[in-house]
């Protein structure tokens, strides 16, 4: 490996460390936010926790799994996966319209 490539990797390593610190911080924020009552509205707690989780997952996927600079082939595979994953989630949500309203307590 030449010196230029070595320096490039050293720069990448610094980036990994920043992502690591962000993940640690995000974890502590997630725990802290779960103790905030938000006026007794649990839906806000859920939204905040999921927002932080998605942000953390994006950091892992983009930097540790190198999705930020990957080949088109991988994006294609993940595009199909995302389509079916979102479909799966929506199927679950839509299934609630199959229940008579009084049997499901939201």
């Amino acid at each position: 490996m030449n010196a230029q490539a070595h320096d490039d990797f050293a720069r990448h390593v610094r980036g990994y460390l920043y992502v690591f610190y962000a993940l640690l911080f995000g974890t502590l924020v997630t725990v802290g936010a779960s103790y905030i009552p938000f006026g007794g509205n649990r839906a806000i707690n859920i939204a905040v926790a999921l927002f932080i989780a998605i942000s953390k997952a994006s950091l892992v996927a983009c930097y540790f799994m190198h999705l930020i600079s990957e080949r088109k082939m991988i994006y294609g595979i993940l595009g199909f996966t995302a389509f079916f994953f979102i479909g799966l989630m929506f199927l679950t949500l839509w299934s609630f319209s199959d229940f008579p309203r009084h049997t499901v307590t939201h």
Binding site: V13, L23, T27, T30, P37, A49, F64, L78, L88, T105
Partner: protein, 258 residues
């Protein structure tokens, strides 16, 4: 005959074969965990108001396990970067850390499981409920460290502002006990999905640790013969490990905090 495209990129995909393979495998894993997450949503949204358990898991231990797994992710990516920078010694150190962190994660998870299997809900014949950890079991009585409540819904939300956390040693004659059940996966739907999700995830951690252990130990001989191919193996195993971390990033808030 050599396996083709273990190092050089395949002309049509632009990637070495193992990388395409691991991403296809991870795509199937997304659907596997996605199906279980959608099951969780279905069970939770369909549960009667106020009955879904909240605060049943140990948040400090869950937080610690999250930090352990995140740290193992950085040691994994650093192990791969060390191979790329031709620093095999550093690779060994980083992946030894990954293995130790994986063992720590499984150890903490085992402790949490043990805690649940020794935690009992006891229905008494007078209609009350005793709840706590089993201390002693004798032929004529049991002793738990917990509390007795009259309304079972008091046991559901342990993080509610009105929830009582007073525990004491309670002796219960067996003649007064109608039913006694531990907090195993059979106890309710919450624990069923908790054990299914975390059990499957723990199996992934163990599987990943075995592969990383192989690359750290007997499989590391490949570094001398074909360092680029070895580095690609480290990258592929690392992608799996990051996926395992990624799944836990969602499991932790969903099961422990919300």
């Amino acid at each position: 005959m050599d396996i083709p495209y273990t190092v050089a990129p395949r002309p049509d995909t632009g990637l070495y074969n193992a990388k395409v393979g691991i991403w296809l495998f991870l795509a199937s894993e997304v659907m596997l965990f996605g199906a279980l997450f959608s099951t969780y949503i279905l069970l939770r949204v369909g549960a009667p108001e106020g009955s879904w358990p909240h605060g049943w898991l140990n948040i400090p231990l869950g937080t610690l396990n999250t930090l352990v797994l995140i740290t193992s992710s950085i040691t994994t990516v650093m192990a791969w970067a060390s191979c790329k920078m031709n620093q095999f010694g550093r690779f060994k150190v980083f992946h030894a850390c990954t293995l130790l962190l994986a063992l720590t994660f499984v150890g903490i998870k085992s402790y949490e499981y043990h805690d649940k299997f020794t935690h009992y809900e006891i229905t008494l014949k007078d209609g009350r409920f005793a709840d706590g950890h089993l201390l002693r079991s004798a032929p004529d009585h049991v002793v738990i460290h917990g509390r007795v409540v009259t309304d079972r819904t008091d046991l559901a939300d342990l993080r509610a502002p009105t929830a009582s956390h007073q525990s004491e040693e309670v002796t219960l004659p067996r003649a007064e006990i109608k039913k006694m059940e531990s907090y195993g996966p059979w106890h309710n739907t919450y624990l069923a999905i908790y054990f299914t999700l975390t059990g499957l995830h723990a199996l992934h951690v163990i599987g990943g640790a075995i592969v990383i252990g192989f690359l750290w130990g007997p499989g590391s001989g490949l570094w001398r013969r074909d360092p680029e191919r070895f580095t690609n193996r480290v990258e592929v195993s690392g992608l799996f490990w990051h996926f395992v971390d990624l799944v836990w990033i969602f499991l932790f808030p969903v099961l422990y905090l919300l």
